[in-house]
Symmetry: C2
Subunit: 198 residues, 2 copies
């Protein structure tokens, strides 16, 4: 398969690339660290990315920015940023991507544990993650040509917790998280939110 | 209690007003059919509504517009409309409303069955409904002064199905749906999505 991986240079993205590399052609994309770059907040940038990437069998997004901050401090602009970037950025990857993906291909978006299990400071992220999961359920019913649409909802990732000097015992290694992306790309699920587990 | 009901003249709103009227003071609001009007898509309009409404014990929203259409026909503007109106409109009711609501008060927002159970044509609505439910889970953890935040996810409403000349047997009467709003306003739930049932 020819697989576009957006956020290919991030912690999860690198693990997804590693897990999918054997037998597939990976087309890496990111904000600025790859030959193909994309700003998820800009539909025109997404369109340009697809033109550069060519024909695809699968699209995996392991990117998308949102703001973690106390609810009382989240501004109108912060919510707008979250909606434009992680939420509509990934929605637009699907909407604008259908025509670039082969029959029976797939889209795999990224949400996160805060969509289901909130924590203080995460209200905008809970909104965005749950919203993407709702969109995925709906979009899967209307995908043309057998194309599947899923989300992966990663828990805290061990490598991220270590980088933040936090207790890594609550996390899952990125290589384990990547298995959920592999399942989404190679399996039969559609409309699903896959929750990685050890 | 003094209860602001937004969308007070709609099918669900009227039933909520009827169910909460005994022993409470209802402050009705709507787009244009009440003394206090509001455009949920405009934060300035929400602020003005709260100034007009005065001190409140509870805020119930049974309003919010979103677009039902095939995914392939939903435009950028359609998504923007859904996000500005039903989604951020209700998020902003909470963000801008905290200071107007008494200790141990509540906010009750409205989502809908498509958030959990999608159907063709409902991708943007599934996104919006699930996003509101995610926000509610997060915001409930950060509410000040014991204020609770819930969503009610109505199924199809019998009166609406009849008005659309559709089979009403799948619906619940608005008066039954209203019980979930009463539970949210008078009970102890917070961060919950309440699903009305017969």
């Amino acid at each position: 398969m020819r697989i576009l991986v957006i956020g290919a240079t991030g912690t999860i993205g690198r693990a997804v690339v590693a897990a999918l590399s054997a037998g597939n052609e990976i087309v890496p994309a990111s904000r600025k660290s790859t030959a193909i770059t994309v700003d998820l907040a800009e539909p025109a940038s997404i369109r340009e990315m697809y033109r550069s990437a060519g024909k695809l069998d699968a699209v995996v997004c392991a990117a998308g920015q949102a703001k973690f901050a106390p609810l009382s401090q989240l501004s109108d602009a912060d919510f707008r940023y979250c909606l434009d970037n992680k939420l509509m950025g990934q929605v637009n990857l699907v909407r604008l991507g259908f025509e670039h993906v082969a029959d029976n291909g797939s889209f795999t978006l990224t949400t996160g544990i805060l969509g289901r299990l909130p924590m203080p400071g995460g209200a905008a992220i809970s909104l965005v993650n749950a919203g993407i999961e709702g969109f995925v359920r709906g979009a899967a019913l209307e995908s043309p040509r057998g194309i599947r649409v899923n989300a992966v909802s990663p828990p805290w990732v061990t490598e991220t917790l270590l980088a933040l000097k936090m207790d890594p015992s609550e996390g899952l290694p990125a290589a384990v998280v990547a298995r959920a992306y592999v399942r989404s790309v190679t399996g039969k699920d559609s409309g699903a939110t896959l929750e990685p587990s050890a």
